[in-house]
């Protein structure tokens, strides 16, 4: 039951990456007495994709929003790059479950919106936005409006907006849960390429075990409320080859099975 048993095969020779996000003894009690998180400590290594996985209502989104600075913790603190978090900051960007796009603005303006808020000149911010639109595969849709796009494409806009502000840490709150299954798989493949390509740290929340194992460098399993870390798994899944081969790979299937056994008792 140690994380090492799965990590051993994949562990690179290089020294372990430094933790860019440090969660220190965080507790969160909502008004009304619901305790979402209790004394939770966790490090997120730089340049990796770490997934928070747990039963629904376990406080994983709460933890992500505390790291984003959107929710104030009751106890404890979050350090990003060694600095304590007191609110949202430019080194963190967020991808929303329901996309959170401006319905009255074009794709271009939506992607550039974070830069617009920072006061960047129009030409400058639109040049960056165009680049990121291409990066997420939406070239040619710059002048479209969100209602003219499919759910998957809208989330690509949300992702491009997060990339455009060039934050070190990307926080993704169940980003693919509102898109259909085919789009979701394509999205997961693109995300892997993005993680490999961009020198960024990704914090990912999902309730899908398969998705977590497919995209993650590290998976943090959380218990039911009040949430605590029950286990950390580093899936030893080969990357870089045929995306479909991964889903048939023995270690992929084994890891999915291991996590399912760990979470099964929450369902009953």
């Amino acid at each position: 039951m140690t994380p090492a048993s799965h990590a051993s095969q994949a562990a690179p020779a290089a020294p372990p990456p430094r933790p860019i996000v440090q969660v220190e003894r965080i507790g969160k009690v909502y008004p009304g007495g619901v305790e979402a998180l209790s004394d939770l400590s966790l490090d997120f290594p730089e340049g990796q994709l770490t997934t928070l996985l747990g039963p629904s209502g376990c406080g994983k989104t709460t933890l992500l929003k505390i790291i984003a600075g959107l929710i104030e913790p009751t106890r404890g603190q979050v350090l990003v790059d060694g600095q304590p978090v007191s609110g949202p900051g430019p080194e963190r960007a967020f991808v929303f479950q329901d996309f959170a796009l401006l319905p009255w603005a074009s794709v271009l303006r939506n992607v550039a919106f974070g830069l617009e808020l920072r006061g960047l000149a129009k030409g400058e911010r639109e040049a960056i936005a165009e680049q990121q639109i291409q990066e997420v595969g939406l070239k040619g849709f710059e002048q479209h409006f969100p209602h003219q796009l499919s759910g998957g494409m809208r989330q690509r806009v949300g992702l491009a907006r997060a990339l455009a502000v060039d934050a070190k840490v990307l926080l993704m709150d169940e980003p693919f849960s509102a898109v259909d299954e085919q789009t979701r798989r394509k999205f997961q493949e693109d995300l892997l390429a993005l993680v490999a390509h961009q020198k960024k740290t990704f914090l990912f929340v999902t309730h899908s075990i398969e998705e977590a194992v497919y995209v993650s460098d590290r998976i943090v399993l959380l218990s039911r409320r009040p949430s605590q870390v029950t286990r950390i798994i580093e899936p030893a899944v080969p990357r870089g080859g045929d995306p479909d081969a991964i889903r048939r790979h023995a270690s992929y299937l084994d890891t999915v099975e291991t996590i399912w056994r760990g979470l099964k008792h929450y369902v009953d």
Binding site: P88, G114, F145
Partner: protein
């Protein structure tokens, strides 16, 4: 409605009522109700006169000024109440009170404070239009998706940026509905204000006509005002439906 094969237009019933009015007027039952044809003739006579046009102009000024002030105050106030629990707790009882209060009773107080003039009338218009604008802007802001508000915070929007770039636009359909209802109330406000002050605009004309028993003039003026108020409400409703269509297409 349909009679046999013939489709009767919506406004046809008005013709029947007009005919009835004409007959009752011709019977000469009361001095208070002259025949409609005489009123129409009088309308054509007084509308082009400088007195009438001057009254219309000063009324329009008060109406527009009052509406603009009500919008400029009401929209930010409503957005603030929609966003801040403290502001909402402090102000909502007052807004609801004034929304349902018989505001006409307060006009004499304004008159004492600001005199018998245009200022009092403009303030009356503001008082009539303001509250529904506040309440609708508040409702609009409360309907904004929470993730849109969080998005503004995460990407570092200042309160002013959030107001101008998110709240105002996301709540636009409700804000426009509030402005339309406010404008309809403002018509009442401007006429009630003028009637009570009674030396400005149409208020002065009403006073003049009714005190001299010029009933044809009096009815002509009333019909003109009713028609203008009705056209205004319909026109704003049409504009609002256009915007709602636009807003719905973007969600």
């Amino acid at each position: 409605m349909q009679i046999g094969r013939f489709r009767v237009p919506m406004m046809a019933s008005l013709l029947i009522w007009a005919l009835l009015w004409e007959i009752v007027g011709r019977l000469g039952l009361t001095i208070l109700l002259p025949p409609l044809s005489a009123i129409a003739g009088r309308m054509a006579e007084i509308v082009p006169t400088p007195t009438f046009l001057a009254a219309a102009w000063i009324t329009l000024q008060a109406f527009l000024a009052g509406n603009l002030i009500a919008i400029a105050l009401g929209v930010p106030l409503g957005v603030l109440m929609g966003r801040s629990v403290i502001a909402d707790r402090m102000l909502l009882p007052w807004v609801n009170l004034f929304l349902s209060a018989p505001l006409t009773a307060l006009v004499p107080v304004i008159m004492i404070l600001f005199g018998y003039g245009q200022t009092t009338i403009i303030l009356t218009v503001v008082m009539f239009a303001l509250w529904i604008i506040v309440l609708d802007a508040r409702a609009g802001v409360r309907n904004i998706a929470p993730s849109l508000i969080e998005m503004a915070r995460v990407y570092g929007a200042t309160p002013l940026q959030a107001f101008l770039k998110i709240h105002l636009l996301a709540a636009l359909p409700e804000i426009l509905a509030g402005i339309r209802l406010g404008a309809i109330r403002a018509v009442k406000g401007v006429i009630i204000g003028q009637l009570l002050v009674s030396i400005v605009g149409f208020g002065r004309l009403f006073e003049l006509y009714s005190s001299n028993f010029l009933m044809e003039h009096f009815w002509a003026l009333i019909l003109v005002l009713f028609a203008v108020a009705f056209a205004l409400a319909e026109g704003l409703g049409y504009l609002e439906r256009r915007v709602e269509y636009y807003a719905a297409a973007r969600h």
